[in-house]
Structure formats: structure tokens, C-alpha cells
Symmetry: C2
Subunit: 343 residues, 2 copies
């Protein structure tokens, strides 16, 4: 790479959220998705970029597009919502993306949660290639508590095993809190998220000890060695491994989706999106006989702050979001050029 | 301690499950619980001892008894079950133990889960001083998937904070699996369970690096330093810490129970049981549109075994249980004498 392009890479442009979303939507539509799917994915991806969650921001676009080009995913799938029981909603995502499936079932899920006190959404036959917090945060903004899990693709070695079985299998949680943004976390049950390994490889950085193994099963700091036939490790030893197993059971076995090790995309070069399932549990805390939930969660936050905590779960994203609302969303000039090249 | 009593300590006796349960039940009743509460606690405690889960076996009895003597807990509380919504059951445990509260609500919870597809049990005003897996395993034996969380007492420093806020806050999960015992895990979200620190202290063993801090907030290997004004750390850094926070929100804020930092037992010397809450979510996997859940979980287990895993979650307990069914439950002779002394 020349000096000139380095300098160009370093320059930053800022786009309003609505403009980045519109650009991404045009890109998705240009590459074979329906307008509804394009809108859902564009909103999700622009939200991650806005919140400086870069491993799920515009960094993901080439992966989405190569997947669409490969015929692995149906960009025009119409999700079929199934009203199964008073607390149970299913969706057949039709080999499409998970976000439009959630969007299609969301109103019914909320109705059931408010009526029954708890409800579950089981999405199957779906592809989730995005951050998970955008799926749960909106529930908390409506006063609900939400928990979601999604399995992905085999790249994590169960604690005590020799070969990978699990995906990075994130868990996301959101809860309302008086006087502030919702409490939201989204954690891979692997030591690192896959996107973070890819970014470390791109930037030539080492990954922390305990993150992964090479193709021979030996511990490594080299992200390239993890990506090239190696594998990740669960976070937190046997405990993180047990949680990752739970995610396989909830997101795949319980929904009717594939396990992370079950799908074969070898016939679709360029495919990057895991064809699995997603589970979302939504609880209405107003059913509790205790004090209002959001008051109680505010008390917990105050106690944590009193104990010296300076940043709550989700705060880094909210800070970036607030900055983006003033300055626009930061992109490298080269990233913007690359996006425009996809039109 | 004399040579003689060392030798006596080392000798092991074996009791049939029914006999240990009956002994513990008489002890609980002798120390002020109702027959119903005694039965529930005795069954739980004998189950842990049978499964070689020693930190929650007869080791706990002195703590139960000093708590009952202190007047901190109501050993004769009658739980009040509240049928709140088609998927939501509440229980006011009446400042009694959590296990009788679960027992009182269990049939209603299962009915709701089978009808709605998912149901939640919110127990408040309760004391949980036991292992959590006995609460979830029975649901899996009836073909249901169960997840439970319980908060406890302030002894864990949130990641990024300086002082403890959370309890050890375990998460337990159980799922049915064809051709074998259910998949069950029960993990403290602290690096170590409190009982394990107490046992390490009693046995004069160090605890692993990263388990806790001393009263000055410095990392320590010394279990005595953790117990004497120090604190535990969450497992897995910021991720375990986020999960522990989630447990506070679900087990306390959502149930109407106390946070781990909220109760003041200083007026009750000898009190050991945290006065908090417990949440249990039960899902009926037969509502899924996929293949039968227990077949699917069996496929996951086979894949994990194929990857080199030799022990599934729960297997250590099942192995000990099978041995106890043949040999009886192992107790040190000194432990049995101590128990008999409580009558």
C-alpha cells in the first residue's frame, strides 16, 4: 500500500445516521435483497457503526455481499410467523436473515409478553451476521427485560475437548433503568468475538493469551493462526464453555435451527453467514409484585457506581452514539469509497 | 487436634439416601422448622452429599442451624403462591427458605409452561443456602428446559469496581437428553463458589489466581484473606461480571426480592443465609417446530464427545450418585457424629 493511500485511509468522514442507513440500504438492494430486508440490515449495521461497535459495522458489508452473491442466503425471504402458544412464537426465516424475522414477529412477541408475563421467540432457518444488542435494546426501551442467544459456526473448542464444536454463541441482555439508557450487554461466549479476531488480523495485532489455538491445537497469540485452521476458546474456562453449550441448545435445538456444526456451505464459496437459529425471551417486569423494576435497576446501578464502577454495560456504545448524533458517524474515507464502489 | 481424632476423621461411613434424609429431617425439625420445610431442605442437602457436591452437602448443616437459632429465617414459613398471569407465577416465601417456595409453586409452574410454552417463577422474600442444580434437574426429567438464577450476599467485586456489590450469584441450567441423564450445569458467576472458599480455608489450601482479593483489594491466594474482609472476583472478567449483574436484576429486581447488598443481618449473629430472591424460567420444548428436543441435544452431546470431550456437565454428580446408590452416601465418621450431636 502506497504512502498516498495510507494518508487517504487515515482521513475520516462523518455521515448522518439517516444517510449511512440509506447508502447501506441501496447497497443491499443492489445486491439482491428485498427492500424490507435491506432496510432491516442497513438499520442494524448503521447502528453498530454509529455506536463504534466496529466489528459489526460497515466492516461486515463485504461479508454480507459475498454471501448474497454465493446464493447461500435468500435475501428476499419472507419470514413466516407462527403463533404457537400464549407465550411461544416461532418464525421460519426461510433461509433469510434473522433481523427481518424478528421484525416480523416483534409486535406479537411483545403482546404475548405483556399478557402472559413472559414470552419466547424461536427463530429458525435464519442467518445472523450482526451484533446481538440491537435485537434486545429496543425491548428495554419499552420497559421489558430481554435475553437473546444465537449460535453461529463451529470455531470454538469446548473446554476439555480437542476440536471445535460451538460457535462464538453470544448472549445479549437488556433491562430498563430509570434516569438513564437501558442496561445492555452483548457478549460472545468465546474468549473473543470472531469479528475482533478478523480486525486484529487486518491490523496485524496479537490477540490476548487464552483467546485461541492454532491448527495443531496449540495456544497462540496470532489471529491469523486462529483464522487459518485454528479455533477460539470459550471465555472463562469450563463456565463459558457450559454457557456456549446452553446457547447451542436454546438457539438451535429449541428453535429447530441448525447447530453451529451442522451446516455445509462448501458449495457456496464466499458464504460467511451462519445458517442457525435465534432465541429471544422477553419478560414483562410490571408483573412483579416488587417495586417498579426500573427503579430497582437504578438502585443497583447506583450501588455499583458507589463501589467505584465508572462505566456500565452499554455505556461505551451510548457515548459513541451521543457523539455521532452531534458529529455524524465516523468512517474512514477509504471505507466510504469502498461502500460507494458496491453500488 | 489429636492423632486419634485425625484417625477417626479419616474413617468413612456410608448411609443409604433415605437414612441420611431422615436424619437431616429430624435435625431440621429439632431446630425449629416445620415438617414440610425440614423435608424439603433434608432432601436437597442429602442429594448434594450423595452427588459429592460437598460444599452444599452436610457441610452446610451448621450454617442452617445457626441461622435458624438466630431468628433470621422463618423455618415454619408457609409460602404464598400467586397466580399472576398465564406465564407468570410469584411466591412470597414469607422470609422462609426458597426450596419449599419452589415446591409449593412447582405444579402450577409446570402447567403454565406446558400450556403457554414458557413460564417464569419469581420467588421473593426467600433464603437460598443450597446448590441450585437440584432446583432445575427435575424439570429436565419431565422433558422441560429450565434456567434458574439466585442472588446471594455481597462478596463479589464487579469488574472495574473497587468494592464488592454482587453475590456469588449462580446460574443453573437443565435440559433433557435422549439416552442419558439430563444435561445440567450450576455455576457461580464468581470465580469460586463461597462454599469452595470455606472448604479451602478449612483444609488449609490456596485458591487459584484470580479468585479473590484481600481486605485491601489486593489479589490473594489465601482463602482466609478472602473470607476475612476480602472479596471474590467474577469469573471471566467483564463477561462474568455482566452475568452476575444480570442475576441481581432477574433474581432480585424482577422478583421483588432484596439485592445481595440490601439486607442487614447484623442483628442476627449466626445468620448465614442470604435473604434475596430466585427466578426460574421453564420452557416446553415440545412447542418447537424442530425435531424432538431430546434427540437434538443427544446429537450435540455426541458431537462434543466426538471432539474429545470425556465428561458432560453434570456427569461428575451422576457418577457419584450411581456409586452412592450401590455403596450408600459417604460421610466422614466425624461428620456423622457431629450431625447426631445436633439431635
Amino acid at each position: 500500500m502506497s504512502q498516498t493511500s495510507h494518508a487517504a485511509d487515515a482521513s475520516t468522514v462523518h455521515l448522518p445516521f439517516i444517510e449511512l442507513t440509506a447508502l447501506l440500504q441501496r447497497i443491499f438492494e443492489r445486491h439482491g435483497t428485498s427492500p424490507e430486508v435491506a432496510q432491516s440490515l442497513a438499520f442494524n449495521c448503521a447502528s453498530a457503526q454509529r455506536d463504534a461497535a466496529h466489528s459489526h459495522g460497515v466492516f461486515r458489508i463485504p461479508g454480507y455481499l459475498s454471501t448474497l452473491a454465493s446464493g447461500w442466503v435468500n435475501g428476499k425471504a419472507v419470514p413466516v410467523v407462527e403463533d404457537i402458544a400464549s407465550g411461544f412464537v416461532g418464525v421460519d426465516a426461510g433461509n433469510g436473515f434473522a433481523q427481518p424475522a424478528l421484525a416480523a414477529a416483534r409486535a406479537l412477541l411483545i403482546d404475548k409478553a405483556r399478557s402472559a408475563g413472559i414470552a419466547v421467540l424461536a427463530i429458525r432457518n435464519s442467518h445472523h451476521f450482526a451484533a446481538l444488542w440491537p435485537d434486545v435494546e429496543p425491548f428495554a426501551r419499552e420497559g421489558l427485560v430481554a435475553l437473546s442467544v444465537v449460535n453461529s459456526m463451529t470455531c470454538v473448542v469446548p473446554h476439555g475437548a480437542a476440536k471445535p464444536v460451538f460457535g462464538t454463541n453470544p448472549i445479549a441482555f437488556a433491562a430498563p433503568c430509570d434516569g438513564r439508557d437501558p442496561i445492555v450487554f452483548d457478549m460472545a461466549t468465546s474468549a473473543l468475538a470472531h469479528g475482533d479476531v478478523q480486525i486484529a488480523a487486518r491490523e496485524g495485532r496479537d490477540v490476548p493469551a487464552g483467546s485461541g489455538v492454532d491448527r495443531l491445537g496449540q495456544p497462540t497469540h496470532d489471529p491469523e493462526a486462529i483464522l487459518d485452521g485454528g479455533a477460539l476458546l470459550p471465555f472463562g474456562g469450563h463456565k463459558g464453555s457450559a454457557l456456549s453449550m446452553m446457547v447451542e441448545l436454546l438457539a438451535a435445538a429449541l428453535t429447530g435451527g441448525h447447530f453451529s456444526f451442522e451446516f455445509d456451505w462448501s458449495g457456496h464459496p464466499g458464504a460467511k453467514t451462519p445458517w442457525t437459529g435465534q432465541l429471544i425471551i422477553v419478560i414483562d417486569p410490571d408483573k412483579s409484585r416488587g417495586a417498579p423494576f426500573a427503579q430497582r435497576s437504578e438502585m443497583l446501578v447506583k450501588q455499583m457506581e458507589g463501589a467505584g464502577l465508572t462505566r456500565m454495560a452499554g455505556d461505551r456504545r451510548y457515548k459513541a452514539r451521543a457523539r455521532a448524533e452531534v458529529e455524524g458517524i465516523a468512517l474512514r474515507a477509504s471505507e466510504l469509497r469502498e461502500l460507494e464502489g458496491f453500488l
